[in-house]
């Protein structure tokens, strides 16, 4: 990483962040260094252009959609706590965690991850994936490789399969049901080095 050593004191609210997201001190420090690296002009927050500078992200077919998921609707900047909270969704889930009912669902549980994946499709956050939203994602992943008709038939098939209450859109519960056999924790986890 190549930067000078910083310690936890330079990160504001580090203790709360660690509590909330479950990242260890060492990981938080690494993520802070990465945040500072992406923030080339030292603004203290990140804009879409800072993400676009990552070469590997620009070659990802849904790169723009991923960048969009970091910014809440209407917002143009993301600060470090928000950055970390979003990455927290991709922490491997802890096994055998007992929690009482009052605690909010942790971001990196299976449900938390599913919710996050759902939001990738449901861009306007209305709780349902409409046909048009599904088409947008499909279009991004395939672009020139298939015809428009093929895209539409794919979207049609996916909706027919998942849409149980026949409202021509996929709600979160239907989404969850459709993916119940997928090992979410394995597919949507990033393994941070110890």
């Amino acid at each position: 990483m190549g930067s000078s050593s910083s310690n936890l004191n330079t990160i504001p609210n580090s203790q709360e962040l660690m509590q909330e997201t479950g990242f260890s001190a060492a990981h938080l420090l690494r993520l802070y260094e990465r945040f500072e690296f992406l923030d080339k002009d030292n603004k203290g927050h990140l804009r879409p252009e800072d993400f676009e500078a990552v070469q590997e992200l620009s070659t990802n077919p849904i790169g723009d959609i991923i960048i969009g998921s970091f910014f809440s609707p209407g917002q143009e900047t993301v600060d470090f706590p928000s950055f970390v909270r979003i990455l927290a969704h991709f922490r491997p889930a802890e096994k055998n965690r007992t929690r009482d009912g009052a605690q909010p669902e942790p971001a990196n549980s299976s449900t938390g991850k599913l919710k996050f994946a759902f939001q990738l499709y449901d861009r306007d956050r209305d709780g349902k994936i409409s046909r048009e939203e599904l088409l947008q994602v499909l279009r991004a992943m395939l672009e020139m490789q298939v015809t428009e008709e093929q895209l539409e038939s794919m979207a049609e098939r996916a909706i027919q399969e998942a849409d149980l209450d026949e409202d021509d859109a996929i709600s979160f519960d239907e989404f969850k049901k459709s993916l119940e056999k997928v090992n979410i924790d394995h597919k949507m986890s990033i393994h941070f080095m110890k």
Partner: protein, 457 residues
């Protein structure tokens, strides 16, 4: 007062005596008094002791973040096809269909690259697995023990007060000898004697400079050394690569004419030896560059050209895309791998962080530079491959020899936008998995654009 001047004069004379007779002259003849060898061995023992000590200390202090030489996340090297198959394994419908869960694969890859990407990793200095007692590589290494700190302090003293003045003196001697020597030889008429003399001047100067960096160079496979009329390509880590290679043979350098000290050196060098220097404006003209280099190679008596096809300095953990321009000239390619040992000093020139002068100062205050140079067997372009494929073949050979990672990314784009063709490749791959042959076939897109301005360096 008089006495002080006398003492100073004596010290100075002693100093110059040591430098000239014990270092410079042996260097010129390629001999070594063995002092550097002993020094390196002592250093190795010291660093091994320090490593053990630090590891012990880290176990006692669990809160300290551990250094991570390969990046902060662990990536599973699974292909897209395998991932998609996995995602569908439990589903009743056939595999070749879009599934809602497909997006997770791309999402995960995308976030992995946000957290840690392969390209930027290559443009910062390699993170060491253990501290090598240089302040500059001290990342998150905290106070471990008194003895370690004392050794570190001693190291600082030795490096800055003893080695550094020595090295500066040697560098000055070496460079001035280059300028004077080449100017003198330049007055001679063209003859075999002149070539021999010019090679001698160049060799001795580079050897002195190498001593000026406390460089220990191990050459392997010397039978594959580049011959006249060939092109030598190597991976690029630092401008010092030139000194390292030129210690063992004479090359014709290629590059831009600079102003200032570099310009003086370049102009004097070209008096005796046919180096190929370009004006800045000429560099943009690909055809002019190619034709000049072609002429040079065609004259089989001229020295081999030295080219670094990556075009920029990489941090010696990987090899990035080779620009195909050098591989279009023709002639025999002699690949060379250069691998620096990072324990003794960080040789990578991060041009965005340090300018040339501060970089050289850092080099002269490291422990030493230990380098392995492998000469690979010569390669020529086969009939059925184009320049880009040939470039990739040479790149793989170089990466394989040095144990470096073979990356397809273009180092020159570290500050620019990536070509859309790479994104299209991903989309093509995905579509072939879920659609198979039913997808439309767009016309073949050339991955390496032919109107690439900077095709050489």
């Amino acid at each position: 007062m008089e006495n002080l001047w006398c003492v100073a004069a004596v010290v100075f004379q002693l100093w110059m005596f040591v430098v000239v007779f014990l270092i410079t002259l042996p260097a010129m003849f390629g001999l070594s008094l063995g002092v550097t060898g002993v020094y390196i061995q002592i250093l190795v023992k010291l660093l091994e002791w320090a490593t053990v000590r630090i590891q012990r200390g880290q176990q006692e202090q669990p809160g300290v973040p551990v250094p991570l030489p390969t990046g902060i996340i662990e990536r599973a090297e699974v292909s897209m096809e395998e991932e998609m198959w996995e995602l569908r394994r439990s589903r009743p419908i056939p595999a070749k269909e879009f599934a809602l869960s497909d997006v997770m694969y791309f999402y995960k890859k995308g976030l992995e690259s946000i957290v840690d990407d392969q390209v930027t990793q290559r443009f910062s200095s390699e993170e060491l697995a253990s501290w090598n007692l240089l302040t500059r590589t001290n990342q998150n290494f905290q106070y471990i023990s008194l003895r370690l700190t004392i050794i570190w302090g001693l190291g600082v003293f030795v490096r800055y007060c003893i080695l550094f003045p020595l090295r500066i003196t040697l560098a000055i001697i070496g460079l001035s000898w280059l300028v004077i020597g080449t100017t003198l030889v330049g007055f001679l008429p063209e003859s075999r004697g002149k070539n021999w003399l010019s090679e001698l001047v160049h060799l001795t100067c580079y050897r002195i400079c190498a001593r000026g960096l406390s460089a220990t160079i191990h050459y392997h496979n010397k039978e594959n050394r580049p011959q006249k009329g060939g092109i030598c390509v190597a991976n690029h880590t630092t401008p010092i690569d030139v000194v390292i290679l030129a210690n063992d043979g004479c090359y014709a350098m290629v590059g831009q004419i600079h102003g200032g000290l570099m310009g003086v050196l370049q102009r004097s060098m070209v008096r005796t030896c046919p180096h190929v220097w370009f004006e800045r404006s000429e560099m943009k003209d690909r055809h002019a560059v190619t034709s000049r280099l072609r002429d040079h190679v065609a004259a089989k008596t001229k020295l081999p050209i030295l080219i670094f096809p990556e075009g920029t300095c990489i941090n010696n953990t990987s090899v990035m895309m080779f620009k195909k321009g050098s591989f279009e000239i023709g002639g025999t390619i002699y690949p060379v791998t250069i691998k620096y040992d990072p324990r003794f000093g960080d040789a990578f020139w991060n041009s965005s962080k340090y300018n040339m002068v501060s970089y050289l100062l850092r080099m002269m205050t490291s422990w030493a530079i230990v380098v392995n140079v492998w000469y690979l067997p010569p390669m020529t372009r086969q009939d059925d491959e184009d320049a880009a494929q040939f470039a990739n073949r040479v790149k793989s050979a170089i990466a394989h020899q040095g144990g470096l990672l073979d990356l397809a990314w273009d180092g020159g784009l570290k500050r620019g936008k990536v070509k859309d063709s790479l994104k299209e490749e991903q989309q093509k791959m995905y579509s072939s998995i879920i659609v198979g042959q039913n997808g439309i076939n767009p016309s073949e897109t050339n991955n390496h654009a032919t109107d690439d301005q900077s095709a050489f360096f």
